[in-house]
């Protein structure tokens, strides 16, 4: 049963993500929130890198964690339900040596209790987006409101 109009759902998701202490620390941006799809991004700066000047794998995982969970949350339109990350797998497939990371998460299969979400992370290197990570996540839907 659809109780809340999507723009209000999207605004609430965006507000939750942007209000997280860790999101502020990392400096990530919510690029877009659409039904079943969320895009987040992060610009390069020294304190999100690892020892070789690449974006840190933990930063990539942070984007995957947040974007996949938020994508699942777009399918939850009732004020009395919420989502939590159950698990995800991430493959780091190329060095992220560029100046901006973009994570695109898309729901593959919504479900009553579990939603499965795919994510791809791209790094802008010399002006071109290159795939640097692929992920597959399971998000649990709860019958309570946690936030």
């Amino acid at each position: 049963m659809n109780e809340t109009p999507f723009p209000a759902v999207a605004a609430a998701i965006r507000k939750t993500l942007e209000g997280q202490g860790f999101t502020k620390l990392v400096g990530a941006q919510v690029v877009s929130v659409d039904p079943g799809a969320v895009v987040m991004a992060l610009d390069r700066r020294p304190d999100v890198l690892q020892q070789n000047g690449l974006f840190h794998g933990g930063v990539i995982a942070y984007l995957v964690d947040n974007a996949t969970t938020a994508a699942a949350a777009t399918m939850i339109d009732r004020a009395d339900r919420s989502v939590i990350t159950a698990e995800y797998k991430i493959n780091l497939v190329a060095p992220s040596k560029g100046d901006r990371l973009t994570c695109r998460a898309e729901v593959v299969k919504p479900g009553r209790s579990l939603t499965v979400v795919e994510a791809k992370v791209y790094c802008r290197i010399d002006g071109e987006e290159k795939l640097v990570a692929v992920a597959l996540a399971t998000i649990a839907n709860l019958d309570i409101k946690t936030a």
Copy 2:
């Protein structure tokens, strides 16, 4: 062929981890580096949390990423080899609402080209360590020195 004594290997791993821009930003500590096992930890503060006051899943993933890769690195004793994270899966199994996270990574199976590492993340809640995440990682060994 063992070319470098372990204390020197461990010191180099610790220095690499502690020198990462993102490790400094997150504020994580390297608790111990032993053959096949690395422990990292992080104390609670507002900017490593999510919206409900729990440690952020991305922080847990950061610890898993670093500790599993470092545990694999302890098996690489030659100065001309290095490791990179190929992939990992992480299950978040309980809310991390305590005051300190500890990630214990242990090599399950070292290999010439791939090393498989397990990790468990505990959160200290009211003085007791509780399991909050379980992970399984694949680390690739390279025949070049990256850092």
Copy 3:
């Protein structure tokens, strides 16, 4: 609330596993069913192998799928609940060139809606058990009886 005595729970799990068409085709055995732990095994014969004479990865996955789900089922003691496999990850860590596979699954974290289970698969090679696969699974608990 514990409504069914464990021996009856274990007997029902064993009967379900052994009654599966695919279990009969593969020829696997249920070695033991204990609270939170299930062991399954399979002896070598040509039609469970791949092209190099090793146990087929699909056979190893079959054991992991069944043993982890059954281990989660041991935690469900009410007649009106059941389990289904949500997802799992499996690392094949060494060639399974021996004469018997044994998969040991253990619940890491039981939960109301999701149970997380680890599994290790060993192959008996020249009389010694060697680790050949490691897995991490998420099993969903349903409020209905499916079988």
Copy 4:
């Protein structure tokens, strides 16, 4: 360096898959082998099912294991190299209660030492293909010929 023409590569992969003892036991078919993509299928019969009349999860994993590894093998065009499955994660997203399973595997990122492959498994239910599983696999490329 491309040394072998693709039709010969594809024929060798098909022959390897079809010659596996376990493939014959399961009764799976190789539908197509293209550069970076392999499709396999299996028709319903009682001995590939689980207790509720659905295709067994182990059968789905078998298709994923074989199709993803074969898709990676299509990128290996030299006679002195080969592939082995390093790991995969599989999400079972809907009950496979139809009459035919089809697994479509596609290479996401080929690499010198590791190739990452996605797979989707569909079940034909009442004449329509429905997504029943999603997988993400890491295949290792070896500098030796194993088969």
